[in-house]
Symmetry: C2
Subunit: 411 residues, 2 copies
């Protein structure tokens, strides 16, 4: 048989894991510096926890785990007779794979509410599963990387999360521009235009501004039954480039003015570029814990990976790279090399020895495959001198050194 | 509704994740130093990959994932009519959750054989799933931590894996004794006792030596139809405490002598204590790649965790601990504190600020809950002096310091 893996899933090779860990480690270090703590939740959740949280379409995309043992015994006979698969599910499956990290996090907060100190600042980096049709760049199993605060509505955290975004991407060397919004401003626009009751229609149309331009938005607003006069006002407000002119326009909209006040407070943080994030006013209501407000952002690990790969931003040597490979000409040299290897490793250097004194060509091919920057060659001459021949694989430069000198050079 | 998680699964709190990461990070650092590389495989594997690899009992313990969409359409109607759950499975489920890391690793090696440089030294730390009856200390979802070499039968790797074991536990501060065996010695004992054809019976009985003592083993051997004369020889050989006397006893057993030779070579490595590990002569044969030999060891993360917890071996302050919490008396102090916070974080110190100038009692309770070793208190006096009041939470000691001095002290 020829082995394969399920469609939409992936193996990760050493290089891919190493690069992804480089991203995760960078992100985690920032999270930790900002006082966030890690949690992990099980891959399988009860379907009662997951179902109904992601809309009808989401329910279909949940992976369901078949009950173990004689599951047919309790199967819904009528659903089978009707050939009704969705109706049969609850009687043969009670668990599913998590679909995102937010619902499990909300469940976690409710279950552990007595052990948690609020505000609870948590991060979570784990895979999630969705039975989407697999296509280029879209997988059924992929990592999410979430950072959230619950139990406080302080705007400090909005600012902090933007700082985190900024710091993560600066550290990774990825150029980003962060855009910030406040929903109350949108409400202010609707109020100032006198169409507070058509707020949803207005936002759906405005949301397309980048795609269809202002004329397209006007058409869409007309199509949604909004008056020309209101549309003119909206267009004017969309055209402002700072908060000051909005203040006058919002003179009769308390919500809008509150939004401006919040954005102004937020801007106090003074960052080169400020950016986005989301607040939910009721994270845990679904699970019976009311009035827990939260704010959070999410990092798209896969996209960051692709961008960094494309721009060649990954450092060539990472902390988990092999630094030195010993190769030996014969059995005696191999034993000598094994002792040298132990010394080098004891000094904390990532090092290895080819397992046998094979043909030099074969050993050097292995060195190249492993992309190791230094090779220590050992033959009878080196042994007599009590040294090793250290070869820099990039420059080709060689030098006869003691093990101590090698350690000093590579550390 | 009251939320819950599936039986046999666990949430991990920040403290648990932090401690487990301390174990994993220690282990990984050693793996990497010894030249091992990480891989990751998908949580879901095709059932065709998993089924039949773990025995009949194992097949029952596999978690199967229900096919998405209208799975009843292709369901085995006869199996449904017969109420035969196991027979129905292949027609409604084609994927399962991985049961261990070895089978996915073998599959990985076969699928990626053209991109891998052999010997391939890989480590893998990921969860696995088994539908075992949950009980104290036994979970349905748990981490495995495997390190293996494939594509070489050099005994160097046996020695290396024992070194790794030794180094990991020494670093963690866990006292361990490592026991080593060579199956050829057992074969030699059977040959020297003249019962090579009853090898399995002999090993099954000998395996119980620790539990039932030599008399128990004798009884079991008799029960399994082994002659008294052979049993006397076996007892004599089990009694030796070094390899030298075995050499004479094995004079007519080439396998036994080979085993002694291999163990002697192995002991050359000279370690304070040497230990176990397993070799498989045909890792990937199931997936169509013959003659790939491997050797590996596994670390039981959960048990290591429990031992370290029991012996209080986790360091109080870990790299991911919060080092400093700012607390402020009023709004002005809170703004001042936010700026101090940014400076401290910019210096790379894990720090936080309570989100509002709440009652001091509440803020200090939060500091205690987070187990933070230092708190920086800021009121109008501190602001005027351009300093903060740094409190050592363990000793209660306080000192008025500039932010630069705080950074110097905590770094």
């Amino acid at each position: 048989m020829k082995p394969s893996i399920p469609k939409g899933t992936r193996d990760f090779t050493p290089e891919q894991v190493s690069k992804r860990n480089f991203i995760f480690d960078t992100i985690k270090k920032v999270f930790i510096k900002y006082g966030y703590q890690p949690i992990e939740t099980p891959v399988m959740e009860n379907l009662s926890t997951l179902t109904g949280k992601y809309g009808e379409e989401g329910d279909k995309l949940l992976f369901k785990v078949l009950n173990n043992g004689d599951f047919l015994k309790k199967a819904d006979k009528q659903a089978i007779a009707d050939g009704n698969s969705p109706k049969l599910i609850p009687s043969i499956s009670k668990r599913g794979l998590r679909y995102d990290l937010t619902v499990p996090f909300a469940r976690f907060v409710v279950m552990h509410q007595n052990d948690i100190s609020f505000p609870f600042k948590r991060y979570q980096i784990q895979p999630v599963w969705r039975a989407d049709r697999p296509q280029k760049g879209r997988y059924q199993e992929f990592y999410q990387c979430d950072v959230d605060v619950v139990g406080s509505d302080s705007l400090m955290y909005e600012a902090e999360l933007v700082q985190i975004y900024d710091e993560v991407f600066a550290t990774l060397g990825v150029n980003t521009e962060i855009k910030v919004n406040n929903r109350k401003i949108l409400e202010g626009i609707a109020e100032a235009a006198g169409i507070a009751d058509q707020f949803m229609d207005m936002t759906i149309a405005i949301d397309k501004l980048d795609k269809i331009g202002i004329e397209g938005v006007r058409k869409e607003l007309i199509g949604r039954g909004i008056q020309e006069a209101a549309i003119d006002k909206i267009e004017k407000m969309l055209g402002v480039t700072s908060l000051t002119p909005l203040k006058e326009l919002f003179v009769n909209s308390p919500t809008g003015l509150k939004g401006i006040e919040e954005l102004e407070e937020f801007q106090d943080v003074k960052m080169g570029s400020i950016g986005g994030g989301g607040r939910y006013d009721d994270l845990t209501g679904n699970f019976g814990l009311k009035n827990v407000s939260g704010v959070g952002v999410s990092f798209g690990a896969a996209r960051i990976f692709d961008v960094m790969e494309e721009l060649d931003l990954f450092p060539k040597e990472r902390g988990d790279s092999l630094k030195l490979l010993f190769v030996a000409f014969d059995d005696a040299a191999h034993k000598y090399a094994f002792n040298c290897l132990n010394e080098v490793r004891a000094a904390g250097i990532n090092a290895d020895l080819y397992p046998s004194p094979a043909k030099m060509k074969k050993q050097m091919k292995y060195a190249n495959d492993r992309k190791v920057p230094f090779v220590a060659v050992i033959g009878s001459n080196e042994m007599e001198a009590g040294k090793v021949q250290l070869k820099n694989m990039e420059t080709g430069e060689q030098s006869l050194l003691t093990v101590e000198e090698v350690i000093e050079q590579l550390f």
